[in-house]
Symmetry: C3
Subunit: 151 residues, 3 copies
């Protein structure tokens, strides 16, 4: 079993997969930060200690909270496919250098995507980082399907 | 390591998992298509070049965009469990024919689910394709738990 | 290939991963239950047989449906990283007792999180169960990165 973790391509996958997954998890605290600083909550029980008047104010959406949530959702929509396809791709035994190129490009794209989204950088910065990430995952999917196709 | 990819059940899993993951990723471009053709955006920076009056119009939700997003979300809620359970299921060494039946049924259900959702086909078409997909994943989970249970 | 499923840590991972994934899937029927009992739907075709007046009433959001959806979304945001990191963690060959402590704590946290969310229990019950789950996943990610780091 330990064999998988002695394979360099799989070790590289595990490294970058852990990094992008941790980055995705970071969106939770980032959203909480905006909820608290902007005073924007979704659940009655989260503002239970406040007066009725304050509650009404706090139980409203805020653009910054919604932006962090869209960023989080976009991570789910893109990092999940990267993990699925990347795991299968690593098992097809690609060259280490080719695999690293895929993993590094994707990771760089998603780190930049978050900066572009939260910082509301001018387009096409966010759009391009999304697109290149999708192309990396598609390229790995092509190798998976052309290697193991069994329908 | 390459052993996994020489196992026919695992190859079949990799094939169908890649197909449904690519299908899920396709919801991104489909949503973008509706955003552009219907003129419905979420981020100020996405409409930066427009006049103030146009911006106000474009930064509104549109039923077709929301429908595509619900479809994407439903994919995440169902294809993610299929991948998780299916991966573990493939490792329990089921019969190839039984495994193929599970993978093919699930894939057919999710392809049809997207058509039913985006095309707003009359119910119970969408509901049934959702339900059968859930039953397939539950059936695989039953085999996983009855084979490897270690609490 | 069957070797993975003869490893006790991997069997334990498969068990707890299947349990939390099934729990996450259960949010689908729970949301449907609230949709039907509260009369709150999102799609025109879901209320096709009703009169126009009834349709208008039924195509509205309801706090209980939205609460179930937030709970489901929080599951996706947390159980997905647990599966990704936990799978890699199980492959690094940790002690069975340490691994079980991680898997059991996470599973208990997420079961309690759902009860706290759907039951609207007073805070910090929900917040704490979320936080401890995140700490478990982070602890596993630390072991993954310190064992296999290949950048």
């Amino acid at each position: 079993m330990a064999q998988l973790m002695e394979n360099e391509v799989f070790m590289a996958f595990a490294t970058y997969a852990a990094i992008v997954t941790l980055k995705m998890m970071l969106m939770g605290p980032i959203t909480s930060y905006f909820r608290i600083t902007r005073g924007s909550f979704s659940n009655e029980e989260d503002v239970a200690r406040k007066s009725d008047e304050e509650k009404k104010k706090l139980l409203k959406s805020h653009p910054d909270v919604e932006r962090a949530q869209r960023c989080h959702r976009n991570d789910l929509e893109n990092i999940v496919p990267f993990f699925f396809i990347g795991l299968l791709y690593a098992l097809t035994g690609p060259e280490l250098s080719t695999a690293l190129l895929h993993f590094r490009t994707f990771t760089a794209c998603r780190l930049f995507h978050t900066i572009a989204y939260i910082g509301a950088l001018p387009q096409p910065s966010r759009g391009l980082s999304y697109l290149v990430g999708v192309l990396v995952t598609t390229s790995m999917a092509y190798r998976v399907l052309s290697t193991v196709l069994l329908l």
